[in-house]
Amino acid sequence: MKLRVYDPKIIAIHLRHRRFGYAVYEGHRGLLDWGVRVYPAIGEEEVSMASKRLSSLLTLHSPSVMILNQERWDLAQTNQHMRALVEMTKCEAIAHSVQIRLLGDSKVRESFRHMDCETRSEIAGALGRIFPELASYVPPKRRAWQAEHPRMIVFDAIALGLTHWHHPSAELLSPSDELTPNYS
């Protein structure tokens, strides 16, 4: 039987209320899938819908690592709503044997600094250049009076996933780890 070695598959999730952006990578250049999953409900129903959406994604792609945003994870300390979503994410990670890795916004910005990108909008533009298939989806620059573009959450997730490959040495969390406050 032939032995084939593939790059590890990872999924980056950018959690928000009522929606999350996701990006699936196989190696740092292998962007396999990306998009948004919405769960337009409130309370327990929202968590239940989010759980279904995340579970179907994890079943579909079977990643080995899930990358989450550190700030969203820390927000779970004070925000009960976000805590429920983070707990749900941990449960799904355990159910699908996926390890969790947390990456902060500072790490994401650091990864894109060499491309002269500081803002999320600039990072989205840089991602459009790195992955030509995303070029047509790059959200237009937001004006001060405009709300965030719905597609921006996808680019947040894609940037989060790419940052994982730039910082491979950071430790992985076991999904069963308790939520601990980060005061650093």
């Binding site: 039987m1 699936v24 990306w34 579909l60």
Partner: protein
Amino acid sequence: MKSEIVATGLRTLRKKSGLSQRELAHILGFQSEIPVVRHERSQAIPNLLTALAYEVIFQAPISAQFRGLFESVEAAIEGRLAELEHILQQSDTRGRSAVLTARKLEFLNMRRESESNQQTK
């Protein structure tokens, strides 16, 4: 055929092309996008004509588009070929059938060598 839900390379190729599932279904001649959804999730195996159509559309071999399926077929076939080789090696034939057995063994050997050459490349 209903099987485990696994993403195929088809989904990645479609997303990279910018085509929607409905557009792809229309190109393939389907009435709705449901067959494309099922093919993308490995919930259904496309028939030969549809698989060839996917290869024409995305200009990528079917084996790359349905990697998981290809690997499971490959593993099953390799196993049966090894079984056949073992049976042929054990067989005690003479005359014309011995020549035929030798030819089959030679084919299996050549096949294995070309495969290992491809792997070293």
